[in-house]
Symmetry: C2
Subunit: 273 residues, 2 copies
């Protein structure tokens, strides 16, 4: 998917929402547990119910790996289901991978070639040659961690190094590896006060913003400081949407939550775009 | 496995070798390809042939994920095979994971609970709460990336931050999260000149040292600068051992390569321990 195509979807839907499918077997509604693949069934129903409210879906690989082989099967099925039924939705393998070159190439094969995800999240610590193999797949995206939404972000990411904090250095250095058409950055919504500063470093890049909802970030602040002329934002919400209900109407409840965010986003697009 | 148990194994074998099972379907000897699970069969034969020469095995998860569900099945089978047949060998899931707390907990479940690996490699970028969930499993180990063996290590890891380089800051800060009985660090053999300095920061911790062999690091230099009174080193070699042969005698060839390293390590233990 190209940046322009993504922007077109955002305008069409009045939404820059990405829904995080952090699907936890222990939180799936009881009536789904008799299903052959409850995780897939849960995700399928969430996707079918919410696809008009969002422009992307993010699969957190940890939740699938925790279920072993069955979990990996669910992950593959969901990636294929999305590709076949909702090809204009941007899909993210939230895997936070990153290793030496020949190993990163294997991860790229897993997520881009086998499962046909549009993008994968990558950790920057190992530097350029750990990221490059993900950038050799045309039409695919690297979403590099910059400033994350968790408390531990202040352990290393905000350390001063020369005239910049580490996450700024990551932005400055890595933005030369790809372009705004092949790279995005993870910037937590809990760090909204930093978004203005980040926008100066990477004016054209999309930012994937987790941390709205369960983690407490403000959507208004994110839009105010982070939006650029192509929107430039994908705001992810996971638990607040997918676990909005726990009964047989869970998908409807999820849709209702997604609609609230879509409405707010539609207003913010009118105000800041 | 405890640190003392690992040290006992090292003394018993005269070896601090860890063999990396970066098993690539394209490099497996042709005669194994008819097997139901060629990756498992290859690893099994390598393990059976080399277990007397090494104290640990490292599974690089990327190589398994690249084969999809089948690959994940091979990874599980290998982890169980090791646990059942060679319980005194230290097993490493070289996964380089790391995410917000509830996600890291899922990765810990995948590798520690489901597959019973002794350890998992973790990336430090997201800080303390991304590492903590791996430290709550008694007897299990976090192996945190500090200074890696690849070229990109110089992009961020060696940046000056205050009075220390970033990797030193990672050592200083993270060594308070666990202890030398629950944490190790990845330090590339290509960085042997830094090992003396690293030893001062973390005198008691084991270091997992990749980059000897295919990546060009020197074993002598690693031992000279990195050994402590409990050895404190696990040197990993992957391709140079597992692909030493490509015929029906591949396991024997691997054993011969492992024996060369074991002999050199035995001498180094006599010299520096």
């Amino acid at each position: 998917m190209t940046r322009l195509e993504l922007f077109e979807q955002i305008k069409k839907k009045g939404s820059f929402l990405c829904i995080g499918l952090d699907t936890d077997m222990e939180k799936i509604p009881a009536h789904l547990l008799d299903n052959e693949d409850p995780v897939f069934e849960f995700n399928k129903q969430i996707i079918d119910a919410t696809h008009e409210q969002c422009v992307g879906y993010k699969m957190n690989t940890a939740f699938y790996e925790a279920e072993g082989v069955k979990g990996w099967m669910s992950l593959e099925k969901i990636s294929y289901y999305l590709r076949e039924n909702y090809p204009s939705h941007f899909s993210i393998a939230d895997a936070k991978r990153g290793d030496i070159g020949n190993t990163s190439a294997m991860y790229a094969k897993a997520f881009f070639v086998n499962m046909d995800f549009d993008s994968v999240t990558v950790a920057p610590y190992m530097g350029e040659d750990s990221v490059r193999p993900f950038l050799t797949h045309p039409g695919k995206w690297v979403i590099l961690l910059a400033l994350t939404s968790n408390k531990g972000a202040s352990d290393f990411q905000t350390l001063q190094t020369g005239n910049a904090q580490l996450f700024e250095k990551v932005l400055q250095t890595s933005s030369k590896w790809g372009s705004p058409d092949s790279m995005m950055y993870v910037v937590g919504a809990t760090q909204a006060d930093m978004l203005g500063q980040i926008r100066k470093s990477v004016p054209g890049h999309f930012l994937l913003v987790p941390g709205v909802g369960a983690q407490g970030g403000s959507l208004e602040e994110v839009a105010k400081h982070g939006m650029n002329k192509c929107c430039g934002l994908l705001v992810n919400a996971s638990r607040s949407i997918i676990y909005a209900g726990s009964g047989t109407d869970f998908a409807l409840k999820a849709k209702e939550e997604a609609m609230k965010m879509q409405q707010e986003m539609n207003n913010l697009l009118a105000e800041y775009l």
